[in-house]
Amino acid sequence: MSEKLIDSGNNAAAMAVQLAAAEVIAAYPITPQTPLTEKLSELIAAGEMDAEYVAVESEHSALGVCIGAASAGVRAFTATSSNGLLYMSEQLHWAAGARLPMVMCVVNRGIGAPWSVWNDHQDAMSQRDAGWIQLFAKDHQEIVDITLKAFRLAELVHIPVMVNYDGYYLSHTYMPFELPDAAVVKEFLPAYEYAHALDPQKPESLNTVTLPDSRNDINGVKQPGYMDIRHNLHQEMRLAMDVLEEIDADYQQRFGRGGTPIIDPYCCEDADYIVVAMGTLANQFRDVVDRLRQEDGLKVGVLALQIYRPFPTAKIAEALQSAKGVMVYEKGLSYGNQGALYADLKSALYPYPARPQLHNFIVGLGGRDIRTEDLCQTLKSACLQDDLSSPEQTDTPQWIGLQL
């Protein structure tokens, strides 16, 4: 039986991982992720989850343990936040390059220095080129659903998956959500099998020094070179978006929720102006959209981006190309340039002749309060802005809520 409950986002994630029957959990505590892995350790200690909890001395080791587990053909899970994710960086690239499936929840938090325990997206954005699939949840129900789909996706495409959700906004707040039936989850998510699982009876050299050129191994079998392996990671990451849609369709059929695994549009059909945002910020914008439509008669909509890597270039360009204006609000940036999401979007729209006017807003860094009133005002003035400003001005990110 599925179960309806009210609990925190971290506990929702933990219960999803329990349902997914992860066999190895290795994590290091870091705010605001800690309660998630604490819950998992409690479940394991109480005998309610059949898994090995490996206590480690760092995030680098946590992911190292997951890499070892996945190499042995075991379903692995870890979770972290902020500087913890950065400490994993080397291993992130390794897990992806080695094509090892695993799932990690990243409870998004600003990066030090200076220390901040509050939410923004800089941690995940800074790891966008590591070769991991990056999914973003907007509420507790999505944390559960996306985490379950993430395990199946990772194991089908052999690419690790990061499930991002906003620190505090989701991790520590309580919301109602439904936990799917364990028996149906088991059918949805079959056991993980790995062709190269470590086996003393069948020794193999894995990810040793791999030459620039392909070569024949001692059995005369052609082995790919480094560039070939990396090319396929890229190609198959692009293809993973199709697989995610298929998994989502199956999930929807079994559990009744889904349909928007890549982009989640709200009031976008007739919209002249579309906001693009990720995570809880996209949900906050639904109120803004309702208000501006009601009070100002502005045809606005909001498009939640549910996957950041691979970037859904075609889907997003298709959804946005006929809008007059697109406003990208984001909780992170590429220092010295612009918002990373904004730059990605701009590049996705470039080949389309009818591309909209783009605006970039930086909000909520290190947990700076994001006032709905500020969102309404900045969005409204961006919609009503005449095109008198220079291209350079329009292309410069605007910071919202600065207290300088």
């Binding site: 079959p190 050299s205 001692i218 082995q223």
Partner: protein, 103 residues
């Protein structure tokens, strides 16, 4: 179970000579075996074979007279270090190059 649309290229192969390519050209010192000292060669028995066991590139054969495949031997010298009979000497490759000092 992986999806058949995904080739999942990994760097995985059976360990053996040539696993890292034709590494013989990396060598600056060549192992030279003196069978008059080598334990299996001297006793005619399949014994010792520590050179075979320790070679990180699997290029030493486990024979009564062990042979080293110079096509792949990187010249690391581990065999010479491990040999309890001091039967392996590492000799500079300069000695084997045409026009080298000793030629």
């Amino acid at each position: 179970m992986p999806d058949s649309r995904f080739k999942v290229l990994t760097s995985a192969s059976t360990s053996g000579p040539g696993d890292a390519g034709r590494t013989g050209s990396w060598r600056v010192e060549r192992p030279i075996l003196d069978y008059s000292r080598c334990i299996p060669a001297k006793t005619g028995k399949s014994a010792c074979h520590l050179c075979w066991l320790y070679c990180p590139d699997n290029v030493v054969s486990k024979a009564i007279e062990p042979k080293i495949d110079l096509e792949y031997c990187k010249g690391c010298g581990i065999c010479a270090e491990e040999c309890p009979a001091k039967a392996i000497e590492m000799v500079s490759e300069e000695n084997f190059v045409a026009g080298g000092e000793d030629e």
